[in-house]
Symmetry: C2
Subunit: 390 residues, 2 copies
């Protein structure tokens, strides 16, 4: 199935949406794809074979965390991240830049790169575009991301433009550093805040670099959903149709279906895993907060029709008990359910695109969520903060 | 395989040790048996099907925890503990008395029972022998334990005697409360501190009650191993050979093999699960502390010859990383490894007794631990505090 080259083929389009396959030596990624986040070399509270069995073709590793602990050189010495974490399938790594900005202390950014102190032990590190690619190479990552500067929204036009232009220059440096690796890929990242002109310029200039894939970064950082979707719509016509498009750090199930509709092929988000550790579940009938006392005597499973044991074999009353008791098994089962739902959502979207009925399918998916709300099955659940690491 | 009656048959003896089967409607317990502790309706950090697959025939539930949360009446309403926790096989429950003594606030003990306040919400509860049996019945427990008074060692003879006699009177009340339940069992508990005469009197008088099984309680509460083993040796001749003997809350692998040699059939202990959550592992080559920096670049699995994936498929370097990073997967894998080792230990003891070579087998097992020490494989690991709940 896999090849010795990194390739992307679109097998079917439906409006702007498309379904296809990314192939590489370590496996095939069916798109649109959701990538579970494995921050520190583990998709939290999941065995790797469970993650694969749910239909995940690729997981994300966080360069910032792994470079600090256990260290990129150590991972390389141990045979690379795939072997280290028992995940022989594709791995995408971020550049580390996003976490440097959100987690590290004493960050200093200039043309060269970012200097920062570890949030673990206070040690000082320098992250340049070249070092980011070097680290991702030491980890053995199949899809590597350029170092970029991601600004928080809202921001001034000047800040957005400065970060976008720096990110473009860093993309060129990362391309050179990455060089020629036929079985792997380095993706560029479109920046530009919420400014349409900046986003278009970023996409156009990155496209000219003829990279193997393109991400849209700097979204899902606090802006309303309509701003995010508008930016996707603005950027999409300026990205090559022949390359995968990855919307970084997104998102809720609703964010994902709307972004797929607008032509996005790849997603990652901590939401299903982090929410699962905080008592929140995603189902075809919407979201539930398992801490809620109303589940205490409910003998129904989360979803009797799901193929996932976490969803079909444990009562809501039991899950409620585990969450209330802070039991590890509660986190294990809720995370499992959530990742199962996300993968089921992606499989449904892929099938609907292949059948040319994406809009109808999305309407049905949303009807499922809304029916849950009407039946009082779903409930308001506080949003779990989204960030790029889990 | 199972029957509608609770029965115990010894198939082979080897010195004082014996191997056999406890049968009951929910399944067969192969003895000597180790019962993983499922305090609050979950063997921590394990899916129930994993626990069964390792060879556990029975798990222990803690009455104190379950009566407070989610509540015995609620568990009964939800169909019983087996259904609640997805464990259709035998369950043994303790009486709740040990945890009342160790966890609850404002305990007051008299002839009637124990009055205490919940450590969760401060609510006041009364635990009598009859209420303990009622609660264990509501949970649906297959093997129920009498309420007893367990004293800390060392203690004065007067304290030990008073607690032993109270426990004897409570055993009679529990027997009456339990009544006639052919498929289930109520076990008495031998008390008497470290006083030989008291232990013998307790065992003799409990035997006269013709209960379905007998536990030895009040050991592994801080006394040296030789005191514990001496108490087992003293008590054993005074217990009927036709009934299972359960050493409560024990223990280390070494405690277990020595107690099996002295005729014990059943064990429970939090050690494998609790140690697994604190970075410590048990192997054929002794104990390891995975926090230790010496594992950071060790690509070997914990035990390449084990059939357990946690033991044979993940490098020590990776486990070290997970433990250092406080990752849930680290607790999951170490707990899994430890329970696998404990069940492997029990299977080996059963086989050796059946083959009439227990002493040789125990010598080989201990040689494995010692060889690990000599090779620097095993290392001093701080003992994880042992207590009756996990």
């Amino acid at each position: 199935m896999s090849t010795d080259q990194f390739t992307f083929t679109v097998s079917k389009t439906d409006g702007t949406a498309r379904t296809g396959e990314i192939r590489m030596p370590r496996g095939v990624i069916r798109t649109p794809a959701f990538m579970p986040v494995g921050t520190a070399g583990t998709v939290k509270a999941m065995y790797p074979d469970q993650v694969k069995a749910l239909g995940a073709d690729v997981v994300l590793g966080n360069t910032y965390h792994l470079m600090l602990r256990p260290g990129a050189e150590r991972v390389a010495q141990l045979g690379g991240l795939h072997k280290f974490m028992n995940w022989p399938y594709p791995i995408l790594t971020d550049s580390g830049g996003f976490q440097v900005m959100s987690l590290a202390a004493l960050r200093k950014i200039d043309e060269t790169g970012v200097t920062f102190q570890s949030h673990i032990d206070g040690s000082t590190h320098v992250m340049t575009p070249e070092r980011s690619i070097e680290i991702q190479g030491l980890l053995g990552s199949d899809i590597q991301m350029q170092l970029d500067e991601c600004v928080k929204l809202p921001c001034t036009d000047e800040v957005a433009e400065k970060a976008m232009r720096l990110s473009l220059r860093w993309a060129e440096r990362c391309k050179i550093a990455f060089g020629d690796q036929p079985g792997k890929a380095m993706f560029g990242i479109v920046q530009g805040g919420a400014m349409e002109a900046l986003r278009i310029e970023s996409a156009t200039q990155l496209s000219a670099l003829d990279l193997k894939g393109y991400a849209i970064g700097g979204l899902a950082v606090g802006e309303p959903q309509d701003v995010m979707l508008r930016m996707i719509e603005i950027v999409e016509p300026h990205l090559p149709t022949t390359k995968p498009r990855y919307l970084m750090g997104v998102g809720t199930p609703d964010d994902i279906v709307e972004a797929v509709r607008r032509g996005i092929d790849m997603f990652d988000c901590v939401m299903p895993t982090r929410a699962g550790r905080h008592g929140q579940v995603f189902t075809r009938h919407g979201r539930l907060n398992m801490r809620n006392a109303k589940h205490a005597e409910d003998t129904r499973p989360l979803d009797a029709e799901s193929k996932c044991a976490a969803s079909n074999s444990y009562s809501r009353a039991y899950l409620h008990h585990l969450v209330r008791s802070n039991e590890i098994l509660g986190m294990m089962l809720l995370t499992w359910n959530n990742l199962a739902y996300y993968q089921e959502l992606m499989a449904g979207l892929r099938k609907a695109i292949a059948e040319g009925r994406l809009n109808d399918h999305i309407a049905e998916v949303k009807e499922g969520w809304a029916a849950g709300e009407r039946a009082g099955i779903a409930e308001h659940a506080d949003n779990v903060a989204i960030a790029g690491e889990d």
